[in-house]
Amino acid sequence: MRSDVLIIGAGGAGLVAALHAHEAGVKVRVITKDYPTRSQTSMAQGGINAAFGNVGKDSVEAHVQNTLKSAHGLANEEAVRLLCEEAPRAVEWLDSIGVPFSRTKDAKIAQRTLGGASAPRACYAQDYTGLKILHTLYDRCLACGIEILNERYLLNFISNKDEYEKPYACGATVLNMRTGEVESYESASVIVATGGYSRIFAKHSTNAVGTTGDGIAAAIRAGARLSDMEFIQFHPTALKNSSILISESARGAGGYLVNSKGERFTNELAPRDEVARAIHNEIEKGEDVFLDIRHLGEAFINEELPQERKLARLYENVDPVYDLIPVKPVAHYTMGGIEVDKNSSSKLRGLYAAGECANHKVHGANRLGGNSLLELVVFGRQAGENAAAYAKKFTHTIDASLQIKSAQNFIMGVKYFTNQIDFYQKREFMGNIFYNNAGISRDEMGLKAVLGAVRQIQKELPFMGPKDKSKVHNTNLIEFIEFGNMVELSEIILVCAISRNESRGAHFRADLPNENDRAYKAHTITWKEDSVLCADFME
């Protein structure tokens, strides 16, 4: 089944890419392992940055400088400028398709301050910003008649070689979750929009359970390069017991962080890496840490932060209007991803990427709040337009037979794995050792120990496997394949984190607490040669 552009993932980036590729006049097909509107984008609360200056004085230049500062020297200034210059147009486009943004008294899009920002810059829709953007994008896709196929799980990208033996991407093999059969979707170009890999941290992550890095793992297997995989952002304020996100807008509005003694201990609106570390240090000292928004008052909380109140009551049994909210920092956003150029194209011809799975080098070592919804609009559009333009000129043949066979063998074979080791236990274990040794504070010994454990898990995979052998909607099988992808990415993260002998942004090495620009102001690039992992620092 062929289309011009095949998009894997129906979150914000995938749907924006689909709309723009469709507008360019090509046949678009979107596949998702879930349903559109169920993606991680729905969980974004705080807002989307654009320097309108609707509420206080602001400029594109200030947005650029804040982003660069937060990135700790690891962002590409040209890419950051594009992101920030395009931001007002991106938000105006969302407004034009009907996103119900909150408004100011003078009928402009309302804006608020997030961490690391010099002005109220994040446009929002209460604390349901991502949800409302995602659903409006989905509605627009319906209006355009874009084909979206649900419950299809990505296995691998299909690539063929041209007459000069140069590979090109031309589709994907997929497991139809409902039938249990392998399917192939051929296409002139492919866009990866599958999200990040924070679920490696298992219960120590704000993310949805499907955030397992499937597209990134498939991309490196197919010959693309990854960059900066060691940079993982910890959100300072997740609920202590459930790791559910409490938006940065709670601090932006004036919320305090306090320890067990009721003392404030940090600047609540510093960039996320700094605040997360400050909380981590308090917890290491034996303190509990709380978010205090009681002084904001019930009316304000109900108007601006309704979801936060609901979540805190449900999952922590506290009412933020009257109580302190117990919090801890957990894995939230992965800066690393598929390395792409200024056209959103990966190293594998015909394979594009956008959203959290891609690394456009705009977040560097630490993403600024409000820039992730922005990147999926700006770069989703770029990926969609470029993948469409490439598809129009595509003249190669597509032969997927080998890859279909190998995908079928894989699905058949994996069910015969021996099941002597429980992969759910290993998944939980990996999350714990990552959080404790490869998380907010790292050192060489700890990282190497985790790498040893991960390599052991790799060897043990054939002794794991799904217990459930059935075909129809086998979530046990899907979770095992997802686990396999996370194990593959875990090795890469650790190799990168061990190689980077310095501290920079979200990568904090307790044994090497300073930035070392001479040696490490460069991107950590990884790729595979004959299935062997290679890594190097490159400009």
């Binding site: 034009s96 100011t104 009928a107």
Partner: protein, 239 residues
């Protein structure tokens, strides 16, 4: 704590059963209980989940015959967990939402054209703030007695979504949107309010349908069912 879960599989042959599980968790959400069973007791138990925080709409099920989000419901001793109603079950608690989602297409739940430079006031924005909180979890279709007997009925979330756009100051195709929901739409609803009772986002599709009815009346549309009863358009009674 004991819970009972309705299991369903189609392979190798169709089988249904209510199985009982004992779980050692206190003050836990249903999703936590399901995860505990799947990872520790029975890996074949099938259910959908996503965000764990009530915004993705994946994990709606019925507990003791009432629709809830598994991630937002605290389990009680002896609870009976079943899949949603009025929707094909694929396996255990997983249902096929394709048809429910397709009602959005049928009801044309989108802004008619791209708007430009229309100032939206706070008052305008408040008009559909709550309707745009919808997460498409499908609880309302499961609870709807009209949809249970008329599978062409556009249904609660699709009609709420129509109101979300029709009430938006940026919408320039209100008449066509209203015309599109006359058949198998707003007049088929019995206003029983079952959808409101189960919505995890506090949305009342029933009251949105009432608003769509009065908008329809303003635009000169009539209750199609009433039209059938009264016979003609000239207003003369048939009896």
């Amino acid at each position: 704590m004991r819970v009972r879960i309705k299991r369903y599989t189609s392979e190798p042959e169709l089988r249904e059963a209510i199985l009982e599980y004992e779980v050692d968790l206190q003050d836990a959400t249903l999703l936590e209980v399901l995860n505990e069973i799947k990872t520790k007791q029975d890996a074949s138990l099938s259910y959908a989940s996503g965000c764990r925080s009530s915004v993705c709409g994946s994990c709606s099920v019925r507990v003791n015959a009432k629709e809830v989000l598994a991630c937002g419901y605290k389990v009680q001793e002896g609870d009976l967990i079943e899949p949603l109603k009025n929707v094909p079950v694929i396996r255990d608690l997983i249902v096929d939402m394709d048809k429910s989602y397709a009602f959005n297409q049928k009801a044309k739940t989108w802004q008619n054209s791209l708007s430009q430079g229309i100032a939206v006031t706070q008052e305008d924005e408040k008009r559909n703030e709550i309707q745009s909180d919808c997460i498409l979890c499908g609880s309302c279709y499961s609870a709807c007695p009209v949809y249970a007997v008329n599978e062409e009925f556009l249904g609660p979330f699709a009609l709420t979504r129509v109101w979300r756009y029709v009430s938006d100051i940026r919408e320039d195709g209100v008449d066509a949107k209203i015309e599109n929901i006359q058949m198998n739409g707003i007049w088929d609803c019995t206003l029983c309010d079952a959808c409101t009772m189960v919505c995890p986002q506090g949305i009342s599709s029933k009251s949105d349908i009432e608003k769509l009815r009065s908008k329809s009346a303003q635009l000169g549309f009539m209750d199609t069912n009433f039209g059938n009863f009264s016979g003609g358009f000239d207003g003369s009674p048939m009896f």
